[in-house]
């Protein structure tokens, strides 16, 4: 059994046992390659009342390698309008790139993204969004983002 499978089994078991944090729900985890979770930002934020869907894709070396995480954009779901989220759902967040570490998990990524959205003051799409979306690869991990340091 691949390391990723054992680890995801553990994570899934923990999720089911302890439940998900507030605003986060497991939509589907039918296999150990692709999970979907819903994300809602609670409290007084610019995203009040909006629910988003996160898609996690894992390769066999997870958690050594980071999961590919993006917002689902289809007829049912929309990506949040946020300076770090492109309209195709790709997310520019350092924890998904060079600051990924195996201590993070599916839930901790969701919580981090939740707080990223919660701290947003103004709904704005990223600069150069159209150009990026036109040429973006299917897997956001193949994009080399330049992370700006804002907290």
């Amino acid at each position: 059994m691949a390391v990723s499978t054992r680890r995801l089994q553990k994570e899934l078991a923990d999720l089911k046992k302890q439940g998900t944090p507030v605003g986060i729900d497991l939509l589907s985890a039918d296999n150990f390659e692709e999970w979907f979770l819903s994300l809602e930002v609670l409290g007084e934020t610019v995203f009040v009342g909006e629910v988003f869907c996160l898609r996690f894709r894992f390769d066999s070396s997870y958690p050594i390698s980071s999961p590919a995480v993006q917002f689902v954009v289809d007829d049912k779901w929309q990506a949040p309008m946020h300076p770090h989220v492109y309209t195709n759902g790709h997310i520019c967040a350092s924890i998904l790139g060079n600051e990924w570490s195996p201590v993070l998990s599916v839930v901790s990524v969701c919580v981090t993204l939740q707080s990223m959205l919660a701290s947003c003051k103004e709904k704005k799409i990223p600069p150069g969004n159209d150009r990026y979306v036109r040429h973006a690869p299917d897997n956001p991990k193949e994009t080399r983002f330049a992370y700006d340091d804002d907290t």
């Binding site: 553990k10 994570e11 070396s61 050594i64 060079n98 570490s101 195996p102 201590v103 993070l104």
Partner: protein, 508 residues
């Protein structure tokens, strides 16, 4: 907190390790191991940092390895993601120092590779430049030898570069460049000026033989007179000539230009003639590369052209007059021949090659003059031909001469005065070498001058003939020999059977 336990028994003060945990949870694979149910086979656990995270050693090593391979993550590879403490790696490597040396030398080699790469490129550029420098310098030496003659060349320069004075290394490579530049209209200088300017005051190359000779002279107490030549001797000292040549050159150019305008029937303009430069490399080849550098129209001339029709008293003819005027300017054969400078491969080669041939030409012309001088004593005097020095090489050096003048015993003021006098005389009169040697440079310069005048005359003749040809050019008219006369509408139609006139008369 850690300080107090020193008073307590040793067993209690032991700081717990990863092995003392009840449940170990690997932060990487998330698997647990309880102390009361150890795995079989056992896996090593590690606590690498300062927080509560623990991990399987294998998992952590895998993570470190993976992170180190990604340049973007490499700096975080040996850091705890939670507390930020640095991991310390140990190894059973029996020769850690050797590994470290190898690692470092590998890194150094990478840097060295870059240096070699950059260095290689630089070397290519430098060696190209140096090669160019060498070519220019050796050409300069050749030009020098052509110009001053073998005898003086052996005294001043010699074939051995280690004997050369320092300024030779600056001066010689400049010669070809200044020769080429002197031919372009922007730099109106005498082509051999750099040759002449620094060499006359240059001292003989101090070869061992010469030094020995000089020493023996001073031993025998022979005084050869001043180490410099007279300022107003014949031939003029090289520096005098150098001052004179540009002046003569300018005067000649002015007169030549006047003569040319007279012959060609063109009006002299105050500005340089307009040149339409056409780069035409490749010539008639399949893909000629052409570029027009543009017409630098002479603004004064243009204004003149516009004013002429305005002054015309017949306004009706204005347009026509203007057109004629314009056509007249462009069509005038002399102007047309003069105004377009076509730069082709051949012309560029001719331009540069001609410039570089100048010293050789000077040398040839000089030797022709030398031969002619055998038959003419006047020419011999004018050229100041002297017998070669071969038998008695009197090459005085400055130092022995100064000594013989009692330079060391002079007062400071007198020393300065004498030095300045010597320096001035050296600059104006040249060294004694120049004075005593056969002045090959003089007849070569005269020869070159004659050559330039002759060349200009030929050029002028060529231009004149071309102009005459253009002016008097006609298309030769032929008879209708071989054409069927029946098809021609002739005033006097041809008669059948040769009775042309008679039949016409019949009709009339």
């Amino acid at each position: 907190m850690q300080a107090t336990p020193t008073m307590q028994p040793a067993a209690e003060t032991r700081v717990p390790t990863v092995d003392d945990l009840r449940v170990k949870l690997c932060f990487i694979c998330r698997e647990e191991e309880r102390y009361d149910s150890p795995e079989d086979p056992p896996r090593a656990w590690t606590h690498p940092c300062q927080c509560t995270l623990v991990a399987h050693e294998a998992c952590l090593l895998q993570w470190i390895k993976a992170a180190q391979q990604d340049p973007a993550r490499a700096r975080n590879a040996l850091k705890c993601p939670q507390c930020g403490a640095s991991y310390e790696l140990e190894s059973d490597n029996p020769h850690p120092r050797i590994l470290r040396i190898l690692d470092r030398s590998n890194a150094l080699l990478s840097i060295a590779g870059k240096v070699v790469m950059i260095g290689g490129l630089a070397t290519v550029f430098v060696s190209f430049g140096f090669g160019l420098y060498l070519v220019c310098t050796s050409y300069g030496a050749h030009a020098m030898q052509s110009m001053v003659g073998k005898e003086m060349y052996d005294i001043l320069l010699t074939d051995e570069p280690s004997n050369w004075p320092w300024h030779a290394f600056v001066n010689l490579p400049m010669i070809p460049i200044s020769l080429v530049l002197s031919r372009s209209p922007t730099f109106v200088t005498f082509p051999l000026l750099p040759l002449i300017i620094s060499w006359p005051s240059s001292h003989p190359v101090p070869t061992a033989a010469l030094r020995l000779g000089a020493a023996s002279w001073s031993l025998f107490g022979r005084n050869d007179g001043d180490p410099y030549g007279p300022i107003l001797g014949w031939p003029p000292s090289p520096v005098m000539a150098a001052m004179l040549f540009p002046f003569i050159g300018r005067l000649y150019r002015e007169q030549y230009s006047k003569l040319k305008h007279l012959i060609m029937g063109t009006r002299p303009t105050q500005h340089e003639p307009v040149r339409n430069i056409v780069w035409d490399f490749g010539g008639e080849g399949p893909m000629p590369i052409r570029a027009h550098i543009g017409l630098r129209a002479d603004p004064a001339q243009q204004r003149q052209q516009q004013q002429v029709p305005a002054q015309d008293d017949a306004p009706a003819q204005d347009a026509e007059g203007q057109e004629q005027q314009g056509n007249g300017q462009a069509d005038e054969p002399g102007v047309a021949a003069e105004h377009t400078l076509r730069i082709t491969n051949a012309s560029l080669g001719r331009f540069i090659g001609g410039a570089l041939l100048m010293p050789t030409i000077a040398n040839y012309m000089g030797s022709i003059l030398y031969r002619l001088a055998r038959y003419s004593p006047t020419l011999r005097t004018f050229l100041a031909i002297r017998p070669p020095l071969l038998g008695h090489r009197r090459v005085p050096l400055l130092a022995p001469w100064l000594e013989s003048q009692g330079f060391t015993q002079m007062s400071l003021l007198k020393k300065v005065g004498t030095s300045m006098q010597v320096a001035l005389n050296l600059v104006l009169g040249g060294t004694r070498v120049w004075y005593e040697c056969d002045p090959v440079w003089w007849r070569n310069s005269i020869g070159l001058g004659i050559f330039i005048v002759a060349k200009d005359c030929i050029k002028l003749l060529h231009l004149y003939l071309a102009k005459r040809d253009l002016e008097t050019r006609r298309v030769k008219s032929r008879s209708f020999a071989g054409v069927d006369l029946e098809e021609l509408d002739l005033i006097h139609p041809p008669a059948h059977d040769g009775r042309v006139l008679q039949s016409r008369n019949d009709i009339v």
